[in-house]
Amino acid sequence: MLLFYALAAIAVGASLLVIAQRNPIYSVLLLIASFGALSGLYVTLDAPFVAVIQIVVYAGAIMVLFLFVVMLLNAPQEQTEADERLHVLVRSGAMRFGGFLAIALLTELVWALSRTPGASVGFGTDATTAVAAIGRSLFTDYAFAFEVTSVLILVAMVGAVLLARREGA
C-alpha cells in the first residue's frame, strides 16, 4: 500500500512537472522518471513483462528519440510571450479553457469512479504473469492485430524518414 502511494506520488508529481517545465530537456527526463514509477506500479500489478517493456520501449527508445530531437533543435525554450508570464487562470483563449476542461474531466472521472461499487474489491490471486501465456495469446487470438501493428510500424518508419529528410537530399 505504501509502495503504491509512493510510486503514484512519483508518477503524478513527475508528470505535473513535465507540463510545468519550460526546458524541454527537463520535461523529457521527468517523463522518464514518471515512466520508471509506472513500471514499478506494473510490478505491483504482477505484470513484470509490461514493467520491463515499459522501460525498454518507452524510456529506452521513445524518450531517446525525444531527447535527440530536443538536442537537434538545440532545445528552443518556449517563447516568453506576454500571456505566457500570466497566471494559468487568466490567460487567453484555449489555454484557459483547456485548463478548466482538464480539471472538469478529472472531477468527472473521480466522481464516476467513486460511485462504482464493484471496482473497490481487491485483486484476485489468479494473475497471468507468465511471458509464455502472453506470447501464446499474442500470436493466436491477436495475430491479426499483431500483423497490422507491424504494417503500421513500417508505414511510420517510411513516413518519418520522408518527413525528416531535407529537401533536395
Binding site: L45, V50, L113, V121, F123, A127, T149
Partner: protein
C-alpha cells in the same frame, strides 16, 4: 492492499495531467510528451483491469498501445523537425497557414 479503484483513480489523474498539458502548453514537443502521459494513463488502467479479471489481455493491449505510441512519436517528431525547419518555432500557433 490497493484495489482496482486506486489504480483507476491514479490513471484518471495522470490522464488529466496529460490533457491539461496538451491544452496549456505551447511547445510542440511538450504537447507530444503530454500525449505520451495520456497513453500511459490508459495503459495503467488496462493492466489494472487485466489483473482484476485474471487474464493476459490487458497486458497485450498495452503491448499494442506501446507500438502505436512508438509510431506516433516517430512520425510526430519528424513532423516537428520539418515544421521547425520552415518556421524556426515550436509554437503551434505560428502554424496557421495550410501552405508555406
Amino acid at each position: 492492499m490497493p484495489t482496482v479503484n486506486h489504480y483507476l483513480m491514479l490513471s484518471a489523474v495522470l490522464f488529466c495531467v496529460g490533457t491539461a498539458g496538451v491544452f496549456v502548453r505551447r511547445n510542440l514537443i511538450t504537447i507530444l510528451l503530454s500525449i505520451e502521459i495520456m497513453l500511459n494513463a490508459v495503459n495503467l488502467a488496462f493492466v489494472a483491469f487485466g489483473r482484476a479479471m485474471g487474464t493476459a489481455d490487458g497486458q497485450i493491449i498495452v503491448f499494442f498501445v506501446m507500438t502505436v505510441a512508438a509510431a506516433e512519436a516517430a512520425v510526430g517528431l519528424a513532423i516537428v523537425i520539418a515544421l521547425f525547419r520552415h518556421r524556426e518555432s515550436l509554437d503551434p500557433d505560428t502554424f496557421t497557414q495550410l501552405r508555406w
